[in-house]
């Protein structure tokens, strides 16, 4: 129930360029204001319902991402944000990468764009609240 009424959000940059990070934070600014959906930005994944992941996962960060995913309480929701997180984008085939996010942890919603606009990020988060598991 809590995930439907007041989903708390945590955020992890798995190896992106900062562009998606900024747009994720822009969701919390006065213009887009996702707090009206009861969402709140939480620093620790232990307090959050939804994990936003941006960027291609690199070898160095893979262990940290898995660690953070384990800390996320059930029911876990993961939103992959941006071209790099979905397919690898520009860095596909780079020597330092461990694959896009869904190679490392299960992903519920993909939000495309380089970077996606805050509107589509909000839409993505809303979509993962409406899937079957949360009813």
């Amino acid at each position: 129930m809590s995930i439907k009424k007041s989903p708390w959000i945590s955020f992890f940059n798995a190896g992106g360029c900062n562009g998606c990070t900024l747009e994720c934070f822009a969701c919390f600014n006065p213009r887009y204001d996702v707090t009206r959906f009861g969402m709140e930005l939480k620093a620790s994944a232990k307090h959050a319902d939804i994990l936003l992941v941006t960027g291609i996962v690199n070898n160095h960060n893979k262990k940290r991402l898995l660690n953070i995913y384990e800390q996320l309480p059930e029911p876990k929701r993961v939103v992959a944000i941006g071209a790099c997180a979905i397919t690898g984008g520009l860095y596909k085939g780079s020597y330092s990468q461990a694959g896009p996010v869904d190679k490392v942890i299960p992903v519920d919603v993909y939000v495309a764009g380089c970077p996606p606009r805050p509107e589509s990020i909000i839409d993505g988060i809303r979509k993962c609240l409406n899937d079957k598991r949360s009813r």
């Binding site: 992890f12 940059n13 798995a14 190896g15 992106g16 360029c17 900062n18 562009g19 998606c20 990070t21 900024l22 747009e23 934070f25 822009a26 600014n29 006065p30 213009r31 620093a43 620790s44 994944a45 960027g55 291609i56 690199n58 160095h60 960060n61 940290r64 953070i68 790099c84 520009l90 860095y91 085939g93 780079s94 020597y95 330092s96 990468q97 380089c114 970077p115 606009r117």
Partner: protein
């Protein structure tokens, strides 16, 4: 003496990007600081190898989400002289407008995050509200909010018309009084002054020895700005000469105020460039260009400091690309300035240098599957600064 190790990161409330700080603390005082990078290393340089110049321009812009225009300009600074293309003044002025607006957006973003670090959530909201207006301008001028990429080699994707320029000036008039008010808050707020003044000191000698760049160096009294010392593109025009803001404090406070003031200098440049630009002139069509020569260099002043690109070319494709972003020059001073500080001041000191970690991840030393830490001793060879 009970020394303990206090780890911060890679994912931590006070850090927006992954970086690992290992602080040796005695009580709450830091005796030694180590840091560990490489969490957002993506291999931009290697990925760009073999790309055609036009494609490489897009790859280079994706180095950083905050200062993508400055990366693109540094790359063009290197490549355009090699191709021998004649770039019209209008294209240069358009690039200047985008770059200076980017500086305003970057400093506003930084102000918001800094306010967030010390718990002033309301100030964070005010800063980010003003930043949205600047992003609106980017949306209008280039069609993108973050990675604007308006450039092509020798020309631009579109030419700014009269309505565009009108909109830029209107938006600037709208945000200027608000930003002045925010500067007043930063200057006179008791919490900010007590937490920023005399913390995170970088004396002038240390700034010179470590080759710090950008607002960080200028806050310590170093008069160095690429726009002034080696003018490129439209910065060479007499009316658009930059007067860098210099301060002598060298602490977190100085670095804060320098960024607040730089916004107004950038606004002056944007207004002047909007006046000089001819709205009816069309930018030239894209041509197929062949680069002559082996290698070239380009540099620009990004919001965080000097941005250096080395480009080696073979058969019109990138053979080797080397980027040196401003944060890489600045971040090494963390190990030194954190010593002797209280642990509660760490978020302020980290943010006062305005690090852009994602932009700077060039190399990580990994031996036998284990990453090596950079210690202050290794970095400075036991040098002492007063």
């Amino acid at each position: 003496m009970h020394e303990k190790i206090f780890p911060i990161g890679p994912q931590h409330p006070s850090l927006k990007e992954p970086i690992f700080l290992k602080l040796h603390v005695d009580g709450s005082y830091i005796t030694k600081a180590e840091f560990n990078l490489g969490y957002t290393h993506r291999g931009v340089e290697k990925c760009a190898e073999g790309y055609l110049l036009d494609t490489a321009l897009h790859a280079v812009q994706r180095t950083c989400g905050i200062c993508s225009q400055c990366h693109s300009m540094a790359f063009l600074n290197a490549v355009e002289p090699m191709t021998g293309v004649q770039v019209p003044e209008k294209v240069y002025l358009q690039r200047l407008i985008t770059a200076e607006l980017e500086r305003i957006h970057s400093h506003l973003l930084w102000g918001g995050v800094m306010a967030h670090e010390i718990g002033l959530e309301t100030l964070f909201m005010y800063y980010w509200r003003e930043r949205e207006h600047i992003l609106d301008i980017f949306d209008e001028l280039t069609g993108n909010r973050v990675h604007h990429s308006p450039d092509l080699i020798g020309t631009a994707k579109r030419s700014f018309n009269k309505e565009n320029l009108q909109m830029v000036l209107e938006k600037l008039d709208l945000v200027e009084p608000e930003i002045k008010e925010l500067r007043n808050v930063m200057e006179n707020h008791d919490v900010i002054t007590s937490r920023f003044k005399k913390h995170g000191n970088i004396p002038k000698k240390m700034a010179e020895d470590l080759d710090l760049v950008g607002p960080t160096a200028r806050a310590s009294g170093v008069n160095y700005d690429v726009r002034q010392n080696a003018p490129y593109m439209a910065y060479g025009i007499k009316e658009l000469k930059v007067k860098p803001v210099i301060r002598s404090e060298g602490d977190s406070w100085g670095r804060t105020m320098i960024r607040c003031d730089e916004i107004f200098e950038s606004m002056r440049l944007v207004r002047k460039a909007c006046e000089m630009i001819d709205p009816n002139e069309e930018v030239p069509k894209k041509k197929n260009l062949i680069a002559k020569g082996d290698f070239s260099r380009g540099r620009t002043e990004a919001p965080r400091g000097e941005n250096f690109h080395f480009v080696a070319i073979e058969n019109n494709r990138i053979k080797r690309l080397k980027l040196r972003t401003p944060t890489l020059a600045n971040v090494i001073s963390y190990a030194r300035i954190m010593e002797g500080e209280d642990i509660t001041d760490v978020p302020v000191i980290v943010m006062s240098l305005d690090p852009c970690i994602s932009c700077m991840e060039r190399v990580a030393v990994i031996r036998n599957g284990k990453q090596e830490n950079w210690t202050s001793h290794e970095l400075f060879e036991g040098k002492k600064y007063d």
